[in-house]
C-alpha cells in the first residue's frame, strides 16, 4: 500500500489510481526530457550539415569550373552522404568536360568504392543514391551489377538502375531492357520514355521487333512507347498490327500510335467496334487524319452510349477540314439526343469556333 500522507488508509482502487498518476507524471517528465534532447540533437545535426554542405559545395563548384581543387581533400565518414547528395545533384545538371571533372573528383575521393558498397545497403534511399551515382560514374565494370539491380522488386530501385545502365552503355542496356519493359509494369511510364529516349537510336529496331512478336497484352502495353520512332516506322507497325491482331487492347493502342501518314485499314469496322475504347481511339484518329467525307461517320458516333466516344467524335468533327461553323450548326440542329448535342457544344466551345 502507498504511504502518501493524503491518501493513507484509502481503498485499493485509490491506491491504484495514485500509482497510475505517479507513473503517468514520471512518463510525462521522461517524454519532456526526450523531446528536449531530440531538439538539441537536431540543432547540432543541422549546424554540422550546413558546414559540410558549404565546404563541399565550394569544392564541387571549383571542380566544375576547372579551377584547381585543393589537394588532400578527404571525405570523412560523417560527410559522405551529404557529399554524395550534392555530387549526384550536380551531375544531373552538367555534361561534357564539367561532368568528366566531377567524375575525376569522385574518384579522387574514393566515391566508386563507397557507392559499390552502398548498392546493397538495406536502406532504400541509400541504395537509390548509390545506384544513381554509379550511373553518373559511367564505369563499364559496373554494368553487370547494375543490370542485376534492374531485377530489384522495388520499382523505384529497378528503374533507377535501368537509367544508370543506359548511362553506362546505351546499346547493351537497350538490348537488355526492352524485354524487361513489358514485365515491369510497375515502372513509371514517364521513366520508361526517358530511358528509351536516352538509349537513342539503338532502341528503335529491337523495340519494334519485340512488339511484333509479343503477346496481345504485352504488345498493347509496349505500343504506347512507339512514339519514340519516326512517323513512317510507327505507322508501318500500327498498320501491321491493325491488320493482323484482333485484341481490342492492341487495336486501341495501334490506333493511338498511328499518325495517319499511312492509310489505316478497317477504319469503318473499328468505328463500330464493340469495345468503346477502340471506337474512341478510332474517332480520335479521324480527328487527326479525317476529311470532310468523314462527317457522317463521326456524326453517327455523337450518339454513342459512351461519353468519351461522343466527346472524341465531337472534337474530331470540329477539326475536320472543310467543316464550317454553319455545317456544325446544321449537325447540331439534326441531333435529337441531348447528350450528343452537349458533347458537340463543348467541342465547338473548346475549338473557339463560336
Amino acid at each position: 500500500m502507498l504511504d502518501f500522507p493524503f491518501a493513507s488508509g484509502s481503498s485499493a482502487s485509490v491506491s491504484a489510481a495514485l500509482w497510475m498518476t505517479v507513473a503517468s507524471i514520471a512518463a510525462s517528465l521522461l517524454l519532456l526530457l526526450y523531446t528536449l534532447e531530440l531538439r538539441l540533437r537536431r540543432r547540432l545535426r543541422e549546424r554540422r550539415r550546413a558546414s559540410v554542405i558549404a565546404h563541399w559545395r565550394a569544392v564541387i563548384a571549383d571542380a566544375i569550373t576547372g579551377a584547381a581543387v585543393p589537394e588532400k581533400q578527404k571525405l570523412r565518414r560523417g560527410e559522405r552522404q551529404e557529399f554524395l547528395r550534392l555530387w549526384v545533384y550536380t551531375c544531373s545538371m552538367v555534361q561534357g568536360a564539367a561532368a568528366e571533372r566531377l567524375i575525376a573528383l569522385a574518384r579522387s575521393l574514393g566515391l566508386p568504392e563507397l557507392v559499390r558498397r552502398q548498392t546493397s545497403n538495406a536502406h532504400v534511399g541509400v541504395r537509390l543514391m548509390a545506384i544513381q551515382a554509379r550511373g553518373f560514374l559511367r564505369d563499364p565494370a559496373d554494368f553487370a551489377e547494375l543490370a542485376a539491380a534492374t531485377d530489384d522488386p522495388n520499382a523505384l530501385v529497378s528503374v533507377v538502375a535501368a537509367e544508370a545502365l543506359v548511362a553506362v552503355d546505351p546499346d547493351r542496356a537497350a538490348a537488355r531492357l526492352i524485354p524487361k519493359i513489358a514485365t515491369r509494369r510497375d515502372w513509371p511510364r514517364t521513366h520508361v520514355f526517358k530511358l528509351l529516349q536516352r538509349a537513342g537510336t539503338a532502341v528503335g529496331e529491337p523495340l519494334y521487333r519485340h512488339i511484333r512478336s509479343a503477346s496481345d497484352e504485352d504488345a498493347a502495353y509496349l505500343l504506347q512507347f512507339a512514339e519514340i520512332a519516326e512517323f513512317d516506322v510507327r505507322d508501318a507497325l500500327a498498320v501491321e498490327l491493325l491488320r493482323s491482331r484482333h485484341s481490342p487492347e492492341v487495336l486501341a493502342a495501334a490506333l493511338k500510335a498511328a499518325t495517319g501518314h499511312a492509310p489505316v485499314p478497317r477504319i469503318d469496322e473499328l468505328l463500330e467496334h464493340p469495345a468503346w475504347y477502340v471506337r474512341m481511339q478510332a474517332a480520335k484518329l479521324l480527328g487527326r487524319i479525317g476529311r470532310t467525307e468523314d462527317t457522317g461517320r463521326l456524326e453517327k458516333l455523337l450518339g454513342d452510349k459512351e461519353w468519351w466516344v461522343r466527346y472524341r467524335a465531337a472534337r474530331a468533327l470540329v477539326r475536320l477540314p472543310g467543316v464550317t461553323v454553319a455545317d456544325l450548326e446544321q449537325i447540331r440542329l439534326r441531333l435529337q439526343d441531348h447528350f450528343a448535342r452537349d458533347s458537340l457544344d463543348q467541342a465547338i466551345a473548346e475549338a473557339g469556333t463560336r
Binding site: 481503498s11 489510481a17 503517468s24 512518463a27 517524454l31 523531446t35 549526384v88 537509390l128 514517364t190 466551345a349
Partner: protein, 468 residues
C-alpha cells in the same frame, strides 16, 4: 451508497482510464514506427528531381459557399502549387454573397458548355466557367445543396483526372502538398484514399495564400487546439495507418481515387461529418466486396487550416464533429465486429464507439460521480482528488507524447518559447477547456440521437487566413 458500490464504480473508471490510455499509447508507439519508416523513404524526395517527378494527374475540387473574402487568394495560391499536372475545379454552391462575381472578375471566367457525366448525385448545375487566364481552372456554379458534400459531388462529376483532392476553400496548402499527397498512391497501387496532417494556421504569417512563417496562435483557444490537432493527427491517425484502419481523412484536404469515389456514390449529403462517413463507407464497400485496398496517411503537414477563435464557433464545430461521428458509425454499423471487417471491424470501430463516441459520457459521469460523492461525503475529498489528478496527468501525458512525436517527425515550432508554450497548453487544457469539449461532444451526441440536420457552417476567420 454503499462503499462496495463505490469501489465497483471506482474500479470501472480506473479500468476505462487504463484501457483508453493504453490504446492511445499503443497508437503513439505505432505512429513512432510509421514516422521512422516514412522519414527513411522521404530521403527519395531529396534526390534528383527526376526521381521525385513521378506524378499522377490530380483534380483539386474546392467547394465554396459564401467565401467571398478569401476565395480569390485561396484559388490563386492553389494555382501556384508545385505539381506538373493538376486542375482546379471550384464549386460555388449557390453562394448568396459575391463569391462567383469575384471569381469571374479575378480569373476572367467565361461561360462554357461542359458535357460532363453526372456520376454521383448533386443539385443541378447552373453553369460552368473556364478561365481565360488559367487553362487548368474551371468553376462550377450550382444550386445550393445546403452542405459541402453536395458541392464536392458536383466537383467529382466535372473533374477529369484519376485522382481527386477535396480541399477546403479556406485551407492553406504547402507548395509541395500534392507531391507529398500522391506518394501513397505511387507506393501502393491499392491506395484508394489518402490524407495528410492538418495543422492550425492561426498565428502563422501568410503571403499570397502561402505560409511564410510558422508561429503559434496568440488566441488561447486556438493555442489549445494546436495540441488537440497534434494528438489527433500525429498519433490518432498515424497510429491507425499501419493497421489498415484509418477511419478519417480530414475534409480540409484529402486525396481520393476518382473511380472509388464514383463507385461508392460520392459524399453523402445527409452526413454531418461527410469526410469521416465517406471513409467509413469506403471501408464497408471494400470489405463487403472482399477487395484489397489501402487508405494512406502521410505525417507531413500538407494543409493548414483556420481554427475557430471564439467559444461559440468552437462549440458549434465540436458539436457537429461529434454528431457526425455518431452518424458515420451508425450508417455503417455493418462494420462493427463483422467477421469480414478485419482490424477496422475489430479494433478501429469498437475503439471509436467506446472511447470516442461514448468517451464524453463516461468522462462526464465520472466527473459528476466523484464531485457529488465528495460533496455528499460518500467519497473522501482526497480520494476524489486522486482520480481527478489521474485524469489530468494521463491527459497531459498524451499531449506531451504528441509534442514529442511532432519534434520527432516534422518540427514546425522551432523556437524554444514555442515549445514552452506547447507544454503550458498541454497542462492548461485540462482546466476548463477539456470539460468544455466534453460538454460540446455531449451536445453532439444528443443532436445525433435526436436526428437534427446539418447545413453549411460559417466560422469567423482569424486575421491570418484569407487575406491577400
Amino acid at each position: 451508497m454503499s462503499s462496495q458500490v463505490i469501489q465497483v464504480i471506482e474500479w470501472t473508471f480506473l479500468a476505462y482510464f487504463a484501457a483508453i490510455n493504453a490504446a492511445y499509447l499503443a497508437q503513439c508507439l505505432l505512429a513512432v514506427f510509421r514516422v521512422r519508416r516514412y522519414l527513411k523513404s522521404a530521403a527519395i524526395d531529396d534526390m534528383d528531381p527526376a526521381y521525385s517527378s513521378v506524378h499522377l494527374p490530380i483534380s483539386l475540387v474546392v467547394p465554396a459557399y459564401n467565401e467571398s473574402r478569401s476565395i480569390v487568394t485561396s484559388i490563386k495560391a492553389l494555382l501556384q502549387l508545385e505539381y506538373p499536372d493538376f486542375e482546379v475545379v471550384v464549386v460555388n454552391d449557390g453562394s448568396t454573397d459575391d463569391t462567383l462575381e469575384k471569381l469571374i472578375a479575378a480569373f476572367q471566367l467565361y461561360r462554357y458548355p461542359e458535357a460532363y457525366r453526372k456520376q454521383v448525385p448533386c443539385r443541378p448545375v447552373r453553369a460552368t466557367y473556364r478561365s481565360a487566364r488559367y487553362r487548368n481552372l474551371r468553376v462550377v456554379s450550382k444550386e445550393n445543396g445546403g452542405n459541402k458534400a453536395d458541392a464536392a459531388n458536383a466537383g467529382i462529376n466535372v473533374c477529369r483526372n484519376p485522382l481527386v483532392a477535396i480541399v477546403d476553400a479556406d485551407g492553406v496548402l504547402q507548395r509541395n502538398s500534392l507531391t507529398r499527397a500522391v506518394r501513397p498512391f505511387l507506393e501502393n497501387p491499392e491506395t484508394v484514399a489518402a490524407g495528410g496532417a492538418v495543422r492550425i494556421a492561426n498565428g502563422c504569417k501568410l503571403r499570397e495564400g502561402f505560409l511564410e512563417e510558422v508561429a503559434l496562435p496568440r488566441n488561447p483557444l486556438a493555442l489549445l487546439q494546436v495540441i488537440e490537432y497534434l494528438r489527433s493527427f500525429l498519433f490518432g491517425r498515424m497510429g491507425w495507418e499501419p493497421l489498415g484502419a484509418v477511419l478519417i481523412v480530414s475534409g480540409a484536404f484529402g486525396v481520393f481515387r476518382r473511380t472509388t469515389l464514383i463507385e461508392v456514390g460520392g459524399f453523402n449529403p445527409q452526413a454531418v461529418g461527410e469526410d469521416m462517413e465517406l471513409i467509413v463507407r469506403i471501408h464497408r464497400m471494400m470489405k463487403q466486396q472482399r477487395r484489397r485496398y489501402h487508405i494512406g496517411f502521410i505525417p507531413d503537414p500538407v494543409c493548414w487550416t483556420d481554427a475557430p477563435e471564439s467559444l461559440k464557433d468552437l462549440g458549434s464545430q465540436r458539436t457537429r464533429w461529434h454528431h457526425g461521428l455518431g452518424q458515420a458509425l451508425m450508417l455503417n454499423k455493418w462494420l462493427l465486429l463483422n467477421p469480414r471487417g478485419g482490424t477496422v471491424s475489430w479494433l478501429a470501430i469498437p475503439f471509436y464507439v467506446l472511447f470516442e463516441l461514448l468517451g464524453p459520457v463516461i468522462e462526464a459521469v465520472g466527473f459528476i460521480f466523484f464531485l457529488t460523492g465528495a460533496v455528499f461525503g460518500q467519497i473522501a475529498w482526497a480520494d476524489a482528488g486522486v482520480f481527478l489528478l489521474l485524469a489530468l496527468s494521463l491527459g497531459m501525458m498524451l499531449s506531451i507524447c504528441a509534442i514529442m512525436l511532432e519534434e520527432f517527425s516534422f518540427p514546425m515550432y522551432r523556437k524554444s518559447r514555442d515549445l514552452a508554450l506547447l507544454y503550458a497548453a498541454a497542462l492548461l487544457e485540462n482546466f476548463g477547456y477539456r470539460q468544455l469539449t466534453v460538454w460540446w461532444r455531449l451536445k453532439g451526441l444528443f443532436r445525433w440521437l435526436t436526428g437534427r440536420r446539418h447545413k453549411w457552417e460559417t466560422i469567423t476567420r482569424s486575421a491570418s487566413v484569407g487575406t491577400s
